[in-house]
């Protein structure tokens, strides 16, 4: 994402933010915190995806209802039975518990959706390039080879078609499968031969002779350090709040929620960081545009 302020931050900041956000969302099941998670996640998801984001968010709704409704079928604890199904009580508490679990699931989906947009593969490899050099090199090569191989596959298929081979559109599954295997075989031969050339070329240029240095396109700026500090502070205070029992929520057999306190505020602030950055940037852009 080019037009997102948070995406322009250092990958380490991005990565740690998502580890914190997704990690917390899995542990906390207090309704107030869940609501905060859903709202902030949805807002940031919409900022990243624009109008197309609504489709995904609305698509999560049936999943939410399904997961909510199904929980009382397996969890029959609870003091207020709504009705009996197959001789087992279908309780209000279990239904609400189901809603909490469904919310967790929705939060995870939303934040993972944002993660996929923000922490792109180039950021991931640049972040882990010095820790796992060989594996991230393999990863970079794979990410480059996949589009390359898809092009080659299309070439092979086209070439086969022009000599009258290959499965037609209405061919049977068996023919399609056989044809696919032939194409895959041709691709494999070509790719493996090429891999040896690449490998030898890498060795000839001195791969493995010394410790590989890596070019870092991202630098930790003052903003990044400040952001990291704020993130850690907010996260630490939320964890402290959790240790004091502020996020405790018991659903079955009877609902018992801890009263909300400052933990909710710090948690919401933490989750609002990317949105706040995005909006701040948008306002700045608006101001500087109106000055012209």
């Amino acid at each position: 994402m080019r037009n997102d302020a948070f995406s322009k931050c250092h990958p380490a900041v991005n990565f740690l933010f998502f580890v914190g956000a997704i990690g917390m969302s899995v542990v906390i099941q207090h309704p107030a915190y869940l609501t905060a998670g859903i709202v902030t996640g949805a807002v940031y998801y919409l900022l990243l995806n624009g109008r197309k984001g609504w489709k995904t968010i609305l698509g999560l709704l049936p999943m939410f209802i399904f997961l909510t409704a199904i929980n009382p079928l397996f969890n029959t604890l609870g003091v207020t039975p709504l009705f009996h199904l197959f001789g087992r009580p279908y309780t209000l508490e279990a239904l609400l518990y189901g809603a909490a679990i469904a919310s967790m699931f929705v939060i995870m989906m939303l934040w993972f959706g944002c993660y996929n947009k923000v922490l792109t593969s180039d950021k991931f490899t640049s972040l882990f390039g010095s820790i796992i050099p060989a594996i991230s090199l393999v990863l970079v090569m794979v990410l480059r080879m996949v589009p390359n191989f898809i092009r080659k596959t299309q070439q092979i298929t086209g070439a086969r078609k022009s000599i009258g081979k290959g499965a037609a559109e209405n061919a049977s599954t068996k023919e399609k499968l056989n044809d696919g295997m032939t194409v895959l075989g041709a691709l494999t031969s070509w790719a493996l031969e090429g891999s040896v050339v690449t490998g030898d070329s890498m060795r000839a240029r001195g791969y493995g002779c010394a410790k590989r240095s890596s070019f870092m396109i991202y630098r930790m700026t003052v903003t990044d350090w400040a952001l990291l500090f704020i993130m850690m502070a907010l996260l630490a205070s939320t964890v402290t709040a959790a240790c004091f029992g502020q996020v405790t929520a018991v659903f079955v057999p009877a609902i018992d929620l801890a009263p909300t306190s400052w933990g909710l505020a710090t948690y919401t602030c933490y989750l609002l960081i990317p949105t706040a950055l995005h909006i701040k940037e948008a306002i700045q852009w608006h101001i500087s545009k109106s000055k012209i």
Partner: protein, 237 residues
């Protein structure tokens, strides 16, 4: 006696310190404690493998071959013009059979991770990485040194059971821990039943690829090994 390798030390630390510690602390977590504990253990189990791979400073040729096999496993979906035909696991297992357990693990884990850059990372990513990686490694062990004959139908049966008994249930586990409020037998069985169709369809895909593509692909991989003398010192323990 040679110096103990760092990855072996890591293995010991993981098994005797990290995993029990995670299990102990995991019981104290509220919410989806099971999921966090499970995912952390999965990630911890993969660390020694990655350290071993980094530690022995793999040669350029080996790196490129691993990358190529990962990319082919991902692209197989495009090459075969049948919707929802997943050949990824079959290619990973064939790589394990041809190049040995360690390469099989790396190709499985990296292919799962890299394919999710195209289809979206999610809560299941570490589980998928471990499932595919361990599946490739298992295939490498089972077929090394002629323990099992490299016949298409043997590989097909092996692949079928590897999907049904290992990869499928592992991915179902990540859903159980994520979606069930309390882990009860009824819930577990329901999750396995709901995942059964997907697992069976993937198992059938694996069988078909093994039967049709198993021998030609193995011949190609063996030919490359012979022609360029690659991965010779790695005949699979």
């Amino acid at each position: 006696m040679k110096k103990i390798k760092r990855s072996n030390i890591a293995m010991l630390i993981v098994f005797f310190l990290l995993v029990p510690l995670t299990l102990f602390l995991g019981t104290k977590l509220p919410g989806r404690g099971y999921y966090i504990t499970g995912t952390l253990i999965i990630i911890e189990l993969m660390i020694p493998f990655f350290m071993a791979f980094e530690g022995r400073k793999p040669q350029a040729r080996e790196l490129v071959v691993i990358a190529v096999m990962c990319a082919i496993a991902i692209v197989a979906r495009v090459a075969i013009p049948i919707p929802n035909f997943k050949a990824i696991f079959a290619v990973i297992m064939l790589t394990g059979i041809a190049f040995g357990p360690e390469t099989g693990f790396m190709v499985g884990a990296v292919a799962a991770f890299a394919s999710n850059f195209f289809y979206g990372q999610g809560a299941y990513t570490p589980w998928q990485m471990f499932g595919y990686g361990a599946g490739g490694m298992l295939a490498g062990f089972a077929f090394a040194k002629g323990r099992l004959p490299r016949k298409p139908w043997v590989m097909a049966v092996f692949g079928f059971f590897a999907v049904i008994l290992w990869v499928g249930p592992l991915l179902d586990c990540s859903r159980i821990f994520l979606m069930l409020s309390t882990v009860t037998w009824a819930g577990v069985i329901a999750t396995f039943i709901s995942g059964f169709y997907v697992n069976v369809s993937q198992a059938i895909c694996t069988v078909l690829v093994m039967l049709l593509f198993g021998r030609p692909l193995l011949e190609k991989l063996d030919r490359i090994k012979l022609k360029y003398g690659m991965m010779e010192d790695e005949d699979g323990l």
